[in-house]
């Protein structure tokens, strides 16, 4: 039945115009971002192609993707409370657990769709721009794979924050505002903690972990110059665990909030 709930969520998402508008806006922004790099490289005798642009393709657009992921999750969750379809679904026979599972499964789905869209647009431009000139060696495949996983985890982390806020607030407008402003609050909290010489704690805040996960340098091999400039002092394994832990905690808190409150 959880698979049915997930299938219904996909159906609802695909049938909704707002989804396609959001995806179109996201694609346009991605095209603008990579397009400007592509044309900038052409006019300034630079290079936008494989393999040099792979780090940018993997991580540079991820903050956008994270934000659009949040928007889509909020639209898919909070509208159900605005239209009271969340409780009607339960009256019709879905259990609260199944309804929640359907929404949770949307998180990785949305993250993958946005990331693939970004990859397809950037990748196409990079493919066009690829030439035999100015080529640098490829990074190890593991670096690219880890960067892609890190970005997906970061997107899921931010979307989980949005899910938690959405299930607590249950209204689209306020949830979007709080979720998008959350990164400001998180950054202010981190600055304050660092000011109090509690920088070690600040690094563990959800959005700080999210930002660290988006940094390509983080995934480069130890000993390379770039690795030294990575955010904070995370080892990749610990960073992944921190990201996964936040996703788990936030989904657990969302589940508790949703199950405890009447519809």
């Amino acid at each position: 039945m959880i698979f049915t709930a997930y299938r219904l969520e996909l159906f609802k998402m695909c049938q909704r115009l707002a989804t396609w508008v959001a995806l179109l806006c996201f694609s346009a922004l991605t095209l603008l971002m990579f397009g400007s790099q592509f044309y900038g490289a052409r006019h300034a005798h630079g290079y936008f192609g494989f393999p040099d642009s792979l780090p940018a393709l993997l991580t540079a657009g991820a903050p956008f993707a994270s934000i659009f992921g949040v928007v889509l999750i909020v639209l898919m969750v909070c509208s159900e409370f605005d239209w009271k379809t969340s409780r009607q679904n339960i009256i019709d026979g879905l259990s609260k657990r199944q309804w929640f599972a359907g929404k949770v499964l949307l998180i990785p789905t949305i993250a993958v769709v946005l990331y693939l869209t970004q990859g397809a647009i950037g990748g196409t431009l990079a493919f066009i721009g690829t030439s035999s000139l100015n080529r640098h060696p490829f990074d190890p495949t593991a670096t690219y794979a880890l960067a892609a996983c890190g970005v997906l985890l970061a997107m899921m982390c931010y979307a989980s924050i949005a899910l938690f806020i959405g299930l607590s607030v249950r209204s689209t407008g306020p949830t979007l505002a709080i979720a998008l402003l959350y990164q400001v609050f998180d950054n202010i909290a981190a600055i304050t903690l660092r000011g109090l010489r509690l920088g070690a704690i600040a690094e563990w805040l959800p959005f700080q972990v999210h930002s660290a996960l988006l940094a390509y340098n983080q995934y480069q091999p130890y000993g390379s110059g770039a690795r030294a400039h990575a955010n904070g002092h995370w080892s990749t394994g610990v960073l992944f665990m921190a990201g996964a832990a936040w996703v788990t905690v936030l989904l657990g808190a969302s589940y508790r909030v949703y199950m405890k409150r009447d519809l």
Binding site: L8, R87, I91, L263
Partner: protein, 307 residues
């Protein structure tokens, strides 16, 4: 056979008691009206039956099952709506029913007959955001009926409808009732209960005031209307008549209930005093009178002017 049994059901929100120790039974084949003014706790009670509101106290049995797991299974045999129709506005009527069919594990072959039953086949492929309120109510009813549930619960299904729309919904409910389904109908419209329901529970401020067959409530104690040329003498005589109860004067007439329910004895008594009646008639108490007597208020519920 009791399909829905509720005992001591209570819901508190902090200091506010929305539903206070409500007990009633709904039996197979009944059209059970849940009558009360707005804010009387009808929707909260039904929310608890649907499992979307957690009771603070009390016991609920559905199709003989109780306990969370068994109730969850039994709720699959229940269909219904709560408050206004809850539909996805960006989906068509057909797509909305497709979603409900999927949830109820039915294939799409059930969708078209359900749309036809509520006369929405022609508008099935239009987005529901363009539907009138009446069409939305009908679609919600169709969704509730999908899968042929044994118990149907409708919360204010005629809310906001024009008289014609109200009549259509009532006829649909009566049709469902005639097909043997058990129906619980929440409403604040007295006329709706009188026209559609076989049984009624009257709620006020979360408390159950009365529960029983509509016929019993409206024909409880007969009220007699008496009239003579001299109403003052008649009033004084009736007041002294021992079986007379709940006497009142209105214009030229005197109204009274009789403990012995025998108007012939009253006539004989009055004739003995030299009072000859110009009119003696049995006034059937309407549900509205019963409701107002029980709730002790006027205008708490609407008489529901309808065709």
């Amino acid at each position: 056979m009791s399909i829905l049994s509720v005992a001591g059901l209570t819901k508190r929100y902090g200091k506010l008691t929305a539903v206070d120790d409500v007990t009633f039974d709904v039996h197979s084949g009944q059209v059970f009206g849940f009558l009360g003014p707005n804010g009387s706790g009808k929707t909260t009670t039904i929310g608890m039956v649907f499992g979307i509101v957690t009771p603070t106290a009390g016991h609920l049995t559905l199709f003989g099952s109780d306990g969370p797991r068994a109730l969850a299974q039994s709720r699959r045999r229940v269909g219904g709506t709560l408050e206004q129709p809850s539909l996805y506005p960006y989906l068509t009527g057909r797509q909305n029913l497709h979603l409900v069919a999927q949830i109820k594990r039915l294939d799409d072959s059930h969708v078209a007959p359900a749309l036809k039953a509520v006369d929405l086949l022609a508008a099935a492929d239009r987005k529901t955001k363009g539907y009138s309120l009446g069409m939305k109510q009908r679609l919600a009813l169709a969704a509730a009926m999908l899968g042929d549930p044994e118990l149907l619960i409708f919360d204010e299904p005629t809310n906001g409808l024009d008289p014609e729309g109200m009549q259509e919904i009532r006829e649909l409910i009566l049709k469902l009732s005639r097909s043997g389904r058990t129906i619980v109908l929440c409403t604040h419209l007295l006329a709706e209960v009188e026209r559609v329901c076989t049984h009624v529970a009257i709620l006020k401020q979360g408390r159950l005031l009365r529960c029983g067959a509509v016929a019993e409530l409206t024909t409880g104690a007969p009220v007699f209307r008496l009239r003579t040329d001299n109403p003052l003498t008649l009033w004084e005589a009736v007041c002294k008549y021992p079986p007379a109860r709940q006497m009142r004067r209105e214009h030229e007439a005197v109204y009274t209930e009789l403990a012995d329910s025998d108007p012939a004895l009253l006539c004989k008594y009055l004739a003995g005093l030299g009072i000859y009646l110009a009119e003696l008639s049995n006034q059937r108490a309407t549900l509205e009178e019963t409701f107002l007597r029980l709730t002790g208020s006027s205008g708490a519920a609407d008489s529901g002017a309808a065709p």
